[in-house]
Amino acid sequence: MEYIPNILFAIVLILGIGYFVKNVKKLSRNIKLGKDLDVSDNKPQRWKNMAYIALGQSKMVKRPIAGLLHIIVYVGFVIINIEVLEIILDGLFGTHRIGLKVLPTSVYGFLIGSFEILAALVFVTVVIFWLRRNVIKLKRFLSAEMKGWPKNDGNFILYFEMVLMTLFLVMNATDTTFQSLDSGNVISQFISPLFSGLSEGTLHIIERAAWWLHIVGILVFLNYLYFSKHLHILLAFPNTYYGKLTPKGQFPNNPTVTKEVQLMMDPNADPFATPAEDENAAEPEKFGASDVQDLSWLNLLNAYTCTECGRCTSECPANLTGKKLSPRKIMMDTRDRLEEVGKNIDANGGKFVDDGKQLLGDYITNEELWACTSCNACVEACPVSIDPLNIIMQMRQYLVMEQSAAPMELNNMMTNIENNGAPWPYNQMDRLKWKDE
């Protein structure tokens, strides 16, 4: 009988972590639906970016208030989770505060004391975050794409953190042996008087309840991530590592096109030769992207990493002037469609069955794509190195090269370039006239 709590704990732990592992596998399978992309270059710079941008949050502090608040929650959350280690060991071995047995009381007190201070700070910060979203109503949290789930998701996370921090403090406050140590109860000593009238037994029950809810809550949180914008707390690291290193203005040359152009320009190629009959000839490669599988795995990793913070959209010239384009929506749509494709694969025994839908049209409209000025403001603004412009450009390529669906004026511009080497209908032979005018 006496081992029941230990066994129960082990089961909860295994379930929680097992489900998380399952989600991680699904995540990685979905990301790999994207096309291959070589990012093995310049490793030192990549590690550096990860250290600065993800760990050091260098881009977050571009907006000092939000940045500072975010750092408190981030640091607090990471450090307080060290406490989870003790909870797990206690749970498995049936001990109580195993830390006290292996560490000197003063060291233990110092650790728990720091956790308590951080927990209180996180609590206050999370309340401020909640106010920003719900009372102050910052514009970037109110856009069209932030209705429904994305809005609730943002709030759920905040409630979660409030509850977890409260449980942690209550757990300490109602732990009479811990309180009597009088070391490390920096915050909880002020909470424990709230429970002063209660009997030892009731206190113990509250303490146990808080302890269990705390660890179960953390496991639930871990498993909530997959469905949430909070995936960024894990994916920000790989995403900043793989982030773009070339100048922002450089858009990769499409290799499929390069092959075609080389063939066309090759003076030795016989234009009248019939293409060699190749039994195994793969389907001709598609130009550009109309669905998530046409994008690179990095685009898809970007989509899962997006925190939906809207910094990109709040600096997008198109969005600022009332156009439909929102780079945040581009990322959210990509993730939603990828999830849909993933579910389709799960439901069909590991194979994607055409569902008559695609990213282009069903999620992202032509109107959004054509509103982009390719200014890179979104790329610059993103705190976790996401590149929405890259997706926009690949989709434009599909529209133009596969569907000839560019706006008429752009078609005129391109015809002019093709015929007379300038975007306007001027004669190439007049290209030097300016000097004599």
Binding site: P247, P317, G322, S374, C375, A377, A406, W424, L432
Partner: protein, 262 residues
């Protein structure tokens, strides 16, 4: 224009057995757009003043393909790029200067992958070099002491991180330079990039160039300085939309410097 500009072509140079140090890439806007042609000429005037050994491709230059690429026509872009690269490699071009940040970006960053490897300078970088090397002297500007502001072209600033060169040049003019609230890395696009120059904007509640002009107007400038032919058009139209064209000039930095030369 009364002044005689010296604009040799690569073809002429080659016929004379010469290989000029620089190719001045004029670009489609610089060659055909009425406003941009003035910038081209102002810049050539400075090149002549500083005795720069350069030539242009003239009728052998074709569109860089930038607008086609940003519009999504990678095919047309690569055809243009390969054609231009063939010509430039034939003339053994090593260094290129251009007044167009879009062409600067594409030639510098996107041509190398297609066989075109050159050292590329934007005219602001090049002019600021000429000045620091003492090859070009700047006299006081007609706008001395007057308020001016500078609009960072996306393809020069954010895209290629050239922020200092244009500001260094402005400093030489003795003007009262004020930054807009969104500047450098966080500058707001003028609305021309990504092939927007060639089409009507999508439905919205304002034009981007008007919003950017409002940013500029907040600094109460006499001149809005640009460093891109497309930005110039956009800001000029923005100033007109705000009915300020009588009070505010939109000028390329090269023009301001050229005006200080006699």
């Amino acid at each position: 224009m009364s002044e005689q500009l010296n604009v040799p072509t690569m073809e002429q140079m080659m016929a004379e057995g010469k290989n000029p140090e620089y190719l001045f890439w004029v670009g489609s806007a610089g060659a055909f757009d009425d406003r941009a042609k003035k910038i081209t000429k102002a810049f050539v005037k400075l090149l002549n003043k500083a005795n720069v050994d350069f030539a242009v491709l003239g009728t052998e230059e074709s569109d860089s393909g930038d607008a086609a690429k940003r519009a999504g026509n990678e095919f047309l872009f690569q055809m243009q790029a390969v054609t231009n690269i063939e010509v430039m490699n034939m003339y053994e071009v090593k260094k290129i200067i251009t007044t167009d940040p879009h062409d600067y970006n594409t030639i510098k960053n996107e041509y190398p992958g297609l066989g075109g490897n050159y050292e590329v300078f934007h005219h602001t970088e090049f002019l600021s070099q000429l000045i620091s090397q003492g090859k070009l002297k700047v006299k006081e500007s007609e706008f001395k002491g007057k308020k001016v502001t500078f609009h960072d072209p996306c393809y020069l600033g954010r895209a290629n991180e050239v922020f200092e060169a244009p500001r260094d040049l402005i400093q030489t003019l003795g003007v009262d330079f004020k930054e807009m609230k969104r500047n450098q890395r966080h500058s707001l696009c003028c609305g021309a990039g990504g092939a927007q120059m060639f089409k009507e904007p999508e439905k919205g509640d304002k034009d981007i160039n008007v919003l950017r002009t409002e940013d500029a107007l907040e600094t109460d400038p006499k001149v809005i300085i640009t460093a891109c032919p497309f930005c110039n058009t956009m800001m000029t139209d923005g100033v007109k939309a705000k009915e300020k064209e009588a009070e505010i000039d939109v000028m390329d930095i090269a023009e301001l410097i050229a005006n200080t030369q006699e």
